[in-house]
């Protein structure tokens, strides 16, 4: 896909408009942010209760605190919301006016994604800082890991957006795209580094988690930042993350083209 300057300008304008729109819903956005805080705290409590004064697989309580505090920010940045923002547009025929514009409607989904996250991030940060003070994590971050983290995080956010868009695009064919999405959510819960850091998964499941894409939308950037991976694992991780990103981009392209061909607005 060649990015023309007019497309970029259009995307920027869309994002600005969406941000202005988002500010109307401060309270709701704050509630959504709290949601993202509560779940990691539950997992942290579980692992904290097991670790106690000792450790679980080499992770002490303060390591779990660092993991799940990073988790809050990463899961926020990479959250895929397209099933709620883009899916209904297709289902209710609101896609039609966007098709008349000289840019792909996927940009509308992207603009909404970015605006949602930037506004709710503002609400999340104060809560997060408070939690850092309460939970006393030990962040073992180096300059190198921070740099690689930024790369891993950006790719994770892109990958997650493309996956979310793919599931949202299923609305071209079925009214039940949400059921498929829940399967993805469930797999991410188990294999993406949510219920447990991937390194704590039992052997065979861990290999599965390394191969499948879920970890690369969530757990991988956290592991990179906190230096939980050796050089080999790091290299393999990045290769697989980029491979999944390319695969996801191709899938979205294919699904979009197939879907738009047989799209008919409500009532047609």
């Amino acid at each position: 896909m060649i990015l023309r300057r007019t497309t970029l300008a259009g995307a920027l304008a869309l994002t600005r408009a969406e941000i202005a729109d988002m500010f109307q819903y401060r309270v709701v956005l704050f509630l959504y942010s709290l949601w993202e805080v509560v779940h990691p705290i539950v997992y942290l409590a579980v692992w904290g209760a097991i670790a106690g004064e000792g450790d679980v697989g080499g992770l002490r309580l303060s390591d779990f605190a660092a993991y799940y505090l990073t988790f809050m920010l990463v899961s926020h940045v990479t959250a895929a919301i397209e099933i709620y923002t883009f899916g209904p547009m297709i289902q209710q025929g609101e896609l039609s006016p966007h098709l008349l514009r000289p840019m792909n409607p996927v940009w509308v989904a992207a603009a909404r994604n970015i605006s949602y996250k930037s506004v709710s991030m503002l609400l999340l940060i104060p809560v997060w800082i408070g939690l850092v003070i309460i939970l006393r994590p030990t962040f073992s971050i180096t300059a190198g890991s921070a740099l690689l983290f930024v790369v891993a995080l950006v790719v994770a956010a892109l990958l997650s957006f493309l996956v979310g868009t793919t599931f949202a695009l299923l609305a071209f064919w079925t009214t039940r795209s949400f059921s498929f999405w829940e399967i993805w959510i469930g797999l991410t819960f188990l294999l993406g580094g949510q219920i447990a850091p991937v390194e704590l998964l039992p052997g065979f499941v861990q290999n599965l988690a390394t191969a499948l894409p879920m970890r690369y939308t969530l757990g991988f950037p956290i592991e990179v930042l906190l230096n939980r991976l050796d050089a080999g694992e790091l290299a393999l991780g990045f290769v697989l993350q980029f491979a999944w990103l390319i695969a996801a981009a191709l899938i979205v392209r294919t699904v979009w083209r197939a879907g738009i061909r047989q799209y008919s607005a409500v009532g047609a």
Binding site: L31, A45, V46, I50, G186
Partner: protein, 261 residues
Amino acid sequence: MRILRIVSAFLRAAILKETAYRAELAGNLLRSVINIGVAVGGLAVVFSHTSELSGWRLEQAMVLLGVYYLVQGIVQTALSPSLNEVVSEVRKGTFDYVLLKPVPSLLLSSTRRFVVWHVADVMLGGAIIAIGLIRLEAQITVGIAAVFVGVMVGGVAIVFSIWLALTTLVFWFVRVENITMIFQLFFDTGRYPVEIYPFWLRQLLTFVFPVAFITTVPAQTITGREPLVAIWLAPLIGILALLAAARFWRIGLSRYTSASS
């Protein structure tokens, strides 16, 4: 008697409506199975590193998870559909029609809608409880079973009261579509025993937002664990919460002024 007839008529209508969308029904059932399967898988991951979680064995934690889904299923079948309707009706002013009917408004507002397929969560939750109990080789006497049912009813009463109180806020703030998210936020902490949380959070979840009474206490009762607090408190708190919520509803109702006045 008349009340029972009204509720059963609503229930019949809900079942008829649901059976019209059979494919949807199958998809939703599959969703329930996946959700619960994933949750059990999560427990398996946690317990691959330990034999007990704050004194709870895997089987006991499974029973607790079962209680969670049982209550969740009841909420989504019978409580949330009706009460969510109230929120949108008050906003649009069509709540007038509820008040005009010769049935107590609270009864009508909380029993009008049922989303029947969520019963799947109730059944799967029950199945997980049963599996946990069988693997524990628990000796369930009639007495224990009766106490368990009593404690569960207390827990559901607490849930209903919280949900009703949150809904009643609509009479003051009108735009509260997402307020019940607060409930889910706290309720999600109830997937695990309340003992895992740090002291202050445990107090919050026991006395302020009593999730402990909804999942931990019933699971303790039936798996024969040392109870967290005297179990007879659960039904008592349930009754008190119901009375308080009903009173709050009446206060809220007196503020209702329809949409355009």
